[in-house]
């Protein structure tokens, strides 16, 4: 009898575990289904879509913006924002070109200085957002201008090209058939999610994003947690800048500066809460794959490339509305204008 009770309890516990597991990954599964559906439709619409070359292209196009988006995910989970991700990336690529090509620094020396720049930018963003209480939206908007401007000033607006072969490996290398940028993006995605899910820092970041006051009251050093998030975001943008400049074999102040929209879209579509406290990098990975697939699909279907931006913008809005509806913050009827509803 006791055995039967214990067995029933264990069964109920397993069922509850499965239920909570499923509820946790519901959004991720929905996104995966959306990507697979889109792939199915496109594979019927275009004979070129489901080719190794095309799928590799999608992965490659996703990787640089994806690395930045992972950094943005960390920060948004903590309830902060970094609008300077695109210009941090642009400055990193420009500095790499200036130092390695123009000034002839060894690759390791140039890369180290660029990474140090990322560290400084993260600290500056974090310092002004956390210690002066100016919202990070404003601080990083200002930094967007500062960093972008610096990138142009450094090279007088010129493109500097011609990296050494060893540096170009970062953008053109392959492991088997998989391009190195894709491997870097996937590694960053997995590594960051491991930190978020399984370390004390991750728990503290989710808690800070969910309820900053509560996190402070239980002794979590909110400023330390968020400063690290700002630094991680800037460092990943710097890495993305290095990969992009290696891929393009050049550096210029405008390279990648338009990627802010795609990175933000990927994070939001990936299910990271705009209010902080929820999200994961695998959602972001699927989000950027969805965006790259739509862009790729539009090209294959012969649609004017200018429609790509319209599609990404509309996707952000749709993702936010769907997310709010799922969370019960918005009833589908609320979308109709009041006049129509009387």
């Amino acid at each position: 009898m006791v055995d039967t009770d214990q067995a029933t309890q264990a069964k109920a516990k397993r069922a509850a575990g499965l239920r909570y597991g499923l509820s946790r990954y519901r959004q991720l599964l929905a996104l995966l289904v959306a990507v697979l559906l889109l792939w199915t439709v496109l594979s019927f619409s275009s004979p070129y879509f489901m080719t190794v070359q095309n799928l590799t292209n999608i992965a490659l196009q996703s990787s640089v913006v994806g690395i930045m988006a992972v950094g943005f995910t960390i920060l948004l989970i903590g309830g902060e924002i970094d609008l300077a991700i695109g210009s941090t990336q642009a400055l990193a690529g420009t500095m790499a070109a200036l130092l390695i090509i123009d000034r002839g620094l060894p690759i390791w020396g140039g890369v180290l200085i660029v990474l140090a720049m990322g560290l400084v930018v993260g600290n500056v963003n974090g310092y002004f957002s956390l210690f002066t209480k100016v919202p990070s939206f404003i601080v990083t908007l200002a930094m967007l201008g500062v960093l972008q401007g610096l990138a142009f000033v450094m090279t007088s607006g010129q493109t500097i090209g011609g990296f050494p072969e060893a540096f170009k490996v970062l953008g053109h290398g392959r492991v088997g058939v998989i391009p190195l940028p894709v491997i870097i993006f996937f590694s960053v995605t997995v590594l960051v999610q491991l930190v978020l899910s399984h370390t004390r820092y991750g728990v503290e970041l989710y808690a800070t994003g969910g309820n900053r006051e509560a996190a402070g009251l239980v002794g979590i050093s909110v400023r330390r947690v968020l400063l690290l998030a700002f630094i991680a975001s800037s460092m990943l943008c710097t890495l993305a800048g290095l990969v992009l400049s290696a891929r393009l074999n050049a550096g210029h102040g405008s390279f990648g500066s338009e990627s802010l929209l795609d990175a933000v879209a990927a994070v939001i579509i990936g299910g990271t809460s705009l209010n902080g406290g929820a999200g994961n990098t695998f959602g972001t990975l699927l989000g950027i794959i969805l965006i790259s697939t739509i862009k790729n699909g539009l090209i294959l279907l012969g649609v004017d490339p200018f429609w790509q931006q319209v599609a990404v913008g509309a996707l952000i809005l749709a993702a936010v509305l769907v997310d709010k509806t799922i969370k019960g913050e918005l009833a589908p009827g609320d979308l109709l204008p009041r006049l129509v509803r009387r």
């Binding site: 509850a16 575990g17 909570y20 399984h198 370390t199 004390r200 991750g202 728990v203 503290e204 989710y206 808690a207 994003g209 969910g210 309820n211 006051e213 509560a214 996190a215 402070g216 009251l217 239980v218 002794g219 979590i220 809460s273 406290g277 929820a278």
Partner: protein, 262 residues
């Protein structure tokens, strides 16, 4: 912080009541606090004995919140002293008081609703094993803790957002109990709850008394105060105007003290 104290709250008398022979767990002497021209706390001398439950009552603006905030280190007094287990202490932040076993459950509960019950119970003191968060331990120990306090939640893996008001209050109390066994401060623990849920929270507080925890309850509800408190401290206009043992007073007496007709 100028003192450290040992953990543990076992009293000498072995029952659920206060142990006055063991001396006060916390003692505030002639504490004064002003905010600009407003004198929020005037020469307040106050103590809580080992295993004792003290209710602080008073009208809005009586100084209850100021006193509680000083006891937790959320604000610092202008003058006066604080002693914990006979040692003078100075709490500069809530982290200082937390380290010495003084915790508070605030009206807004301070739960991270995006996180699970287990994560909330362990928030700020998450156990790790080889740098990895030990979720199994967290879930097992949370379940054991909630069981020991007779707190009923559907599953420790559920997010606190999915719980009722009473269950959320209970989780906040469990967290405070886990991290602060010298003194727990409960600020309006039943204010936002319905009748049934309020009763359940009072049951939990009575359970805590059985575990010999020293407790301060701030409440407007005199029925609840009379149910759980050993002693009732009345504040008015920033001053402590009376302290009565529950057996030696009545609701009318306390009301007179609160409104100043006695």
């Amino acid at each position: 912080m100028t003192a450290s104290v040992s953990q543990g709250a076992s009293g000498a008398n072995g029952s659920g009541g206060p142990d006055r022979d063991a001396g006060p767990v916390i003692m505030a002497r002639e504490v004064h606090k002003s905010f600009g021209q407003v004198r929020a706390l005037i020469d307040a001398t106050f103590q809580v004995d080992e295993g004792e439950t003290v209710a602080i009552v008073g009208d809005n603006g009586a100084g209850k919140s100021t006193l509680v905030k000083i006891l937790t280190g959320a604000i610092q007094p202008d003058s006066g002293s604080l002693e914990l287990d006979g040692m003078e202490v100075s709490f500069r932040t809530t982290r200082d008081s937390l380290q010495l076993g003084v915790t508070a459950v605030y009206q807004n509960l301070a739960l991270a609703d995006n996180m699970t019950v287990a994560e909330n119970v362990f928030l700020g003191r998450v156990p790790t094993r080889w740098l990895r968060v030990d979720r199994r331990r967290m879930e097992r120990e949370s379940a054991e803790l909630l069981d020991s306090l007779a707190i009923n939640v559907p599953d420790v893996r559920a997010t606190t957002a999915s719980l009722s008001g009473g269950q959320r209050q209970a989780v906040a109390i469990a967290r405070a109990f886990r991290s602060g066994r010298r003194l727990m401060i409960l600020d309006e623990p039943t204010a936002a709850l319905g009748v049934q849920e309020g009763q359940k929270v009072l049951d939990i507080i009575e359970g805590l008394k059985g575990q010999r925890v020293s407790i301060i309850v701030v409440s407007h509800n005199l029925d609840h105060v009379f149910r759980v408190a050993d002693r009732i401290v009345v504040m008015r206009g920033g001053r402590i105007v009376g302290s009565r043992r529950k057996e030696e007073t009545t609701t009318a007496d306390i009301v007179h003290l609160i409104v100043g007709t006695r």
